[in-house]
Symmetry: C2
Subunit: 298 residues, 2 copies
Amino acid sequence: MINKLLIVGCGLIGSSILKKVCKKKIAKKILVFEKSKKNQRILKRLKLKFQLIKKMDKKISECDFIIICTPLSEYKKIFLACNKYSKKNILITDVGSAKRDSITKINRIKRKDINWISSHPIAGSEVSGPLNGNQNLFVNKWSVIIKQKKSQTKEMKKILKFWKLLGSKTVTMDADEHDKIFAITSHLPHLIAYNLILTATNFKISNKDKVLKFSAGGLRDFSRIAASNEIMWRDIFFNNKSNMLKVIDLFIKNLKVFKRDIKSNKKNLGTKLRNLKKVRQKIVLLKQDTSKPDFGRT
Amino acid sequence: MINKLLIVGCGLIGSSILKKVCKKKIAKKILVFEKSKKNQRILKRLKLKFQLIKKMDKKISECDFIIICTPLSEYKKIFLACNKYSKKNILITDVGSAKRDSITKINRIKRKDINWISSHPIAGSEVSGPLNGNQNLFVNKWSVIIKQKKSQTKEMKKILKFWKLLGSKTVTMDADEHDKIFAITSHLPHLIAYNLILTATNFKISNKDKVLKFSAGGLRDFSRIAASNEIMWRDIFFNNKSNMLKVIDLFIKNLKVFKRDIKSNKKNLGTKLRNLKKVRQKIVLLKQDTSKPDFGRT
């Protein structure tokens, strides 16, 4: 399908793509750009057939498909290199988690003939780097493909096919809708997890060690999400700012009502909690999580 | 060790104790009080050797050890029955998650000769009921035993031994310290999970279905904790009110700082997130969670 593929950034997501593309022979030739020396060393040990490049220069000029797997703050630099070196009508996608602002910014600077159709695979983990890459990371996971006015059907089909080859279920939506949905399903949960860990570390308590020692009662779950890559998440929060500010305000408003309920021993608090409980069953029914109690971890 | 044991309330925790006590023959005779008809039916099918009682009456008068496994709001009724029917110098423990207020309230009404030493096993799950009981629920988990001025060494030793027989590691602390630690490690995380699910359900979005459909990016984790038993958690929030109000305020204060950081594209937000990330490794080192990425669920 692909003649010459370039993967830009080869952390968890990039290396998972690399492994699957090699396994399924989706591209005739693969180039990987990775700037971290540590990751370069790990990639060399993978014994996969690809060419590691340490600069985005004329070596990329033969590529016909580029997938960007870096934090959002790297995109500008990458597109400027693509403007300079990539061939005409190149197809570019990415895996970023926040869309509208980044698309607006990049559309302003990218070469007009570059076809950029943005993607977002709903896959990831608290671990990073190519050592943790997994060829099955995308299997049965959703990949969202962003519709833009200028998205040509032909190019859109190619992107959809690419994600399906990696094992994903695909869905299209526009950037505004995407950013709204993921503000509430992913970006706010991550911020809340970081904030809970922060609150646990700055809560005044005589024996701080005991907080982590007895974290199995709930805190440990949040620590997993709060162990996610900090640059990626900083960039997501900044690039979905308007939705983030809205969902934070709503979260605080709701939390203040809970505070009042607790303060006044509100009689129907049990009913309120019981209604919220039902959401879990729906998520499990939609196959978005395991049905095993405690995630099956014990 | 125990002559005649009474388990009051036989949901997830009570039935897990029942199964282990039967398996390890920790008591010569076991009585189980369970008021839910559904749970009574399930218990009868368990094929374990115990006597099911449907009333706390003179049938309990021969018991020498009682363990209360009900929501905190049931305690008063249970102790009034114990006052009336239990034999002299009976030893009672419980498994409640909030201590100071409930101990104060019960000490006011309980018969003076009743030895009550409160416990809190750090074990549980989002599933409830005797169908989900598991004899290994307490193995290698912490059980906290509450020290009171009047806790007699002899009785305290019995309680510690009981939890060790169930497989727990034991630790003692006073009620104030307990409630402070678990406000931040367990009670706040549960409230925050409920509040996040509430926020996801009342966030204005055109296609509500998509929120749960794409919940794998973070929200699903919170839905597990927010699926916990509503009566148990309502009672915990009410019975650890003073600490809850404090940790909620601190959480909101910290979240407002995060909001400012995001609003202003604060440069060092990445550093702040990186520092919070380290907590996960400590929790895993303390063996309070699995080291497998994504809890090993995929």
